[in-house]
Every structure is written in structure tokens, then in C-alpha cells.
């Protein structure tokens, strides 16, 4: 029961870590390159969720200053701002790797890692 309560208390952190692991599993085990990129995005989402969850203050208000809430407890906005940068980075990484996948598909005609490995080793043996 205590364990259940602990899980409920830290559900946001656990969710972040779970997403991270699901993403890592997808990247490592799937041979489809697009699925790998999706896995990376899931991984990134997990980290971002974890980072944003740190900023939460129990009972805090959204960090928008108005005349009514001067002196109130605010949620820490810094992690959210930092994660904005992280999202930008992941977006650019995703676009870059997708364009690489398009090039790979043009040259090899496949986006399956196993197939690619076979084609490349055949080509090396041919040389």
C-alpha cells in the first residue's frame, strides 16, 4: 500500500522514465529506420516530461504575474523554458535524420536496417 502511494506521488517522474525506456527499447530493437526515429522522439518526450515535472510546486500557481496574485507561490517556469530549447533540438535532429532516411531509401531502396546491412556487406564483398 505504501508502495502504491509512493508510485502515485511520483507518477510524473515514473512516467517520464517509462517513456524514456520505451523509446530506448524502440531505438535499439526495431530495424525500421523510421521507427527508430519515432523511438528517439519518444525518448526525448520522456526526458522533457521528467524535466518539466521537476518544476512543479505543490499548490503553485501558473507563473503569470498579475495584480491579483502578487506574493503567491508560483510553479518554477525555468524547466519549461529550458525544455523549449530541447524540443527545438529534437525537432531539428528528427528532420535531419528523416532527410537522411529519404536519401538512404533513394540509394538502397529500403529503410530496413537488416536489409541495409545485407546490401552493404554484399557490396563490400563485391569490391
Amino acid at each position: 500500500m505504501i508502495i502504491l502511494q509512493k508510485i502515485l506521488e511520483n507518477i510524473n517522474y515514473l512516467g517520464g522514465i517509462a517513456l524514456f525506456l520505451i523509446g530506448l527499447h524502440t531505438v535499439v530493437t526495431h530495424s525500421n529506420l523510421i521507427k527508430r526515429i519515432i523511438g528517439l522522439n519518444i525518448m526525448g518526450t520522456g526526458v522533457f516530461l521528467f524535466f518539466v515535472a521537476i518544476g512543479n510546486v505543490t499548490g503553485g500557481e501558473p507563473p503569470i504575474m498579475t495584480e491579483d496574485n502578487i506574493g503567491a507561490i508560483f510553479i518554477n517556469p525555468l524547466p519549461s523554458v529550458l525544455i523549449l530549447t530541447g524540443i527545438v533540438v529534437v525537432v531539428s535532429m528528427t528532420v535531419y535524420s528523416l532527410s537522411l532516411v529519404i536519401r538512404i531509401f533513394e540509394t538502397y531502396g529500403t529503410i530496413d536496417q537488416k536489409e541495409l546491412t545485407r546490401l552493404i556487406s554484399e557490396q563490400n564483398n563485391h569490391d
Binding site: 527508430r36 525518448m43 521528467f50 530549447t85 535532429m93 535531419y96
Partner: protein, 493 residues
Amino acid sequence: MIEQLPIINLLLLLGTALIIPLFKKRPFQLSLTLCFLVLLTVLVSSVFLLIHVLEYGEFYYHFGNHENLIGIEFLIDAFSAFFTVFVAALVLVIYLYSWKDKTEGIENKEFGRYYILLFILLFSIFGILYSNDLFNTYVFIEILSITSCAIISIKRKKETYTAAFRYVMLNEIASMSYLLGVALIYMITGHLNLERVATSLQSIWPLYSTNIIIAIGFMTIGVGIKAAIFPFHIWLPDAHATAPSTSSAILSGIVVKIYILVLVKLLFRVFGMEIVEALHIKWIMLILGSAGMIMGSIFAIAQKDVKRMLGYSSVAQIGYIILGIGLFTEAGLQAAFFHIISHGIMKAALFLSVGVIIYYKHVQKLKDFEGIGYQMPISMTVFSFGALGMVGIPLTSGFISKFNLGIAVIDANLIFFLIIIILSGLLNVVYYFPIVISAFLKDNKEMQKIPHIEKVPNIMLIPILTLGVAIVVLGLFPNLIMDIIVSVVATLF
């Protein structure tokens, strides 16, 4: 004024990257000259900074005049100033070489873009070295990883795509684990500034040890993948072998070293000796370093392609650096830093001289190197100096770094690792000497008939000659930089 130089350096590099696209319709030569002048200015101002720092001590740069509790901070000390000088000087030499080397699958249209990427890469390297903030380091690391992938895949050949894709994947996994480590650190300390994190980690280490251990694990593995420390090296040979020669030289000589320097910063500045000793990171690094030294060399012996061989050789040489850092003594760190410099110069010389050979002869397989010394005496001589340095023959800078490393290992009473250093040196002989011997001594009647100096543009030969001379000069007068390295290491302890 001198306090503004770091930001001026960064802005110059970023600004050049922004200005290059505007030159599209103007003469290309103009933008090349402009880039050269910018690099020269950056080098000169880095040297000024180094002199200033050595004389008056470190200083901080606060963005927007905010103090480091809420603002972003740069720390310019002997460590960052020295390595920025090294990076700027090496990039300047490689840049001069890249003027003419357009044959390697980089289309002319892409060449302007190549320099954009190069300048953004240099910008991020300077940022990483100056930055005194965990999250800013992350951002600069990401810029560095995107640009370093892009300077591989800019060559439109099919092998580069798969190599770059694998590099991107591992890079991104590494970045994500670094970011998760930063999150865990931020969670318990509430700071991102390196010094504030370090002080609060010392006080809360007994309270949150699990959290700190996980954070250290994520961060070091993240940086370790990018630095190609031994079990995480799988991306390196492919990526470095398929890239254009200039990119290979930059990636092997500089980029990998930057991640190692980030690791040094994390271990020495953030976590501190107490935590590092409690977690036995020393032994992990010693074992991984020596495993890298042996396995990298063994893999290199089996290669048929000269650039792949150089890539595996990089894995082995990174092992030396990790071993030196893993000793956690001043002597070990001095040896490691000297090896960072000397390996940077030697690898750049090797990759660029191979680049000249590829430019002229269009061969890349080891079996085509027979008798090539008669046709291309200059570049093969530089290659031989690089190879001798890698093996650790006296009079080259490689000898000095290995000698220092050996002394450091003996000082630390770890004789076992001395054996590994010697063994790895012998393995280096096995794969470097056959190339040199077959290039110069093997009878190849056809090629001996036409003894002539290679008809390669001078602008390609001058950089590799400079690097070759630098190897010898550092081998003869190591104290030129050793004195500075001593004061650099002093800032970390």
C-alpha cells in the same frame, strides 16, 4: 575590452556563418578570404585571452549582467583559453587545406554550405569550452553533434548516409541521457551553474547518493558515447572513414576531444574528487581506456581501407587519453592533455595527407599504397611522420605523450598499465609500419620510372607540411606547451 573577447569570438564565428549565404552571387574567393580573416582574428584573440588568463588569472563573463544564480555564465580560465587556442589553430590549418579539396563528392554548390557548417561547429566548440553551465553545455553539444553529422553527410555518396544515420542515432541517445542526467542534478540541487552545483553536491552527497549516482551514470555515458570511449566506439570508424578528408580531420582531431574535455569538466569541476573516488570511476576509466587501446589497435590491423584504419587508430588513441585522465593525478592529466594536443595534430596530418593522396590518385585501399612514396614524396613523408608519432618513436610528439603517460602510470604504482601501453605501441607498429614500408621501399618498377613531385596545389601541401613540422617541433621542444598544460591542470585540482 579583453573581457569582451570571448563573446566577440563567438559572435564573429556565428556572424560569418550568417554572412556566407549572402555571398552567393559574388565571387567565391571573397568569402573564402573573409573566412580566413575571421579565423585568423579568432586565433589571435584566443591567444590574447590565453596570455591574459595566464598573467592575471581566470575571469567570468556574465550575460546581461545577471549574476550566476539566475544568469548564464562563461568561465575563461587557463583550461578553456588553452584549448580554444588549440582548436582555432588546428581549424585554421585544416581550413587552408580545404580550399582546393573539392573533388571528394562535395558539389560546388554545397561548398558554401560546408563553410557555414564549419563555422557553426567552431562556434559550438568555443561555446562548450567557455560555458560554465550544464544546460548551456547541452545546447552547444547538440549544435556540435548536428553540425558534425552534417559535415559527414554533405558528401553525396551512399556510404555516408548510413554512417551519418548511425552517428545521429547514437548522438541523440547520448544527448538524451546527458539531458536526463542534468534533470536529475537540477532536481536535487536546483542549480545549473557548474560551481553552484559542485558546492551543493558536496553537501547533499550523503543524502541523495542514489540520485547522484544515476545522474553521473547518465551524464558520463552520454558524453562517453560521443567521445567514442571503447565500448561505445562503434559509430566512429564508419563516420570518420566515409566523411570528406577535411571533415575526418576535424572530427578525429578536434570534435571527439571536445567531448573528452566535457567529461573532464564534469568529473573534476562538478562531481569532485570525493564522489569520483566513492564510485570507483577511476578503475572504470582505467579499464575502459586500456581495453580501447588494445581492441582499437587489433581492429585497425584487420582493415583494408586506410581511412577506416585511421578511425580505429583513433579509438586506440582515445584509450590513451582516457587512461591518462583515469589516473586522477596531475601527471596523468598532463599526459592526457598533451596527448589530446599531439593526437589532434598527428591525426589531422594523417587524414589530410591521405586526403592529398585521394585527391591525386583516387585510391583509398591499403594495397594501392605500394610504391606511392615515389610519386607523392611530400604527403607520404608527412604521413610517415604521423605514423611514427602514433607509434611513439622518439623525436615526435607522440613519443613525449606516451613517455609522460608511462611516467604517470609508474608514479601511480600501476605497473600493469605500463605493459598495456607498451603492448598497444607494438600493435600500432603492426598496422602503421607496413604502409610506410610498402609506400617507400616496395619495388614497384612502373612507379619508380616516373619519379616526380606530386602536382598538387601548394595550398594543400603547405598545411600538411605545417602539421608535419609541428609534430617534430613538439617532439623536440615539448616544453613549448607543457608549461601551459601544467598551469591548465593546476586549475582542475
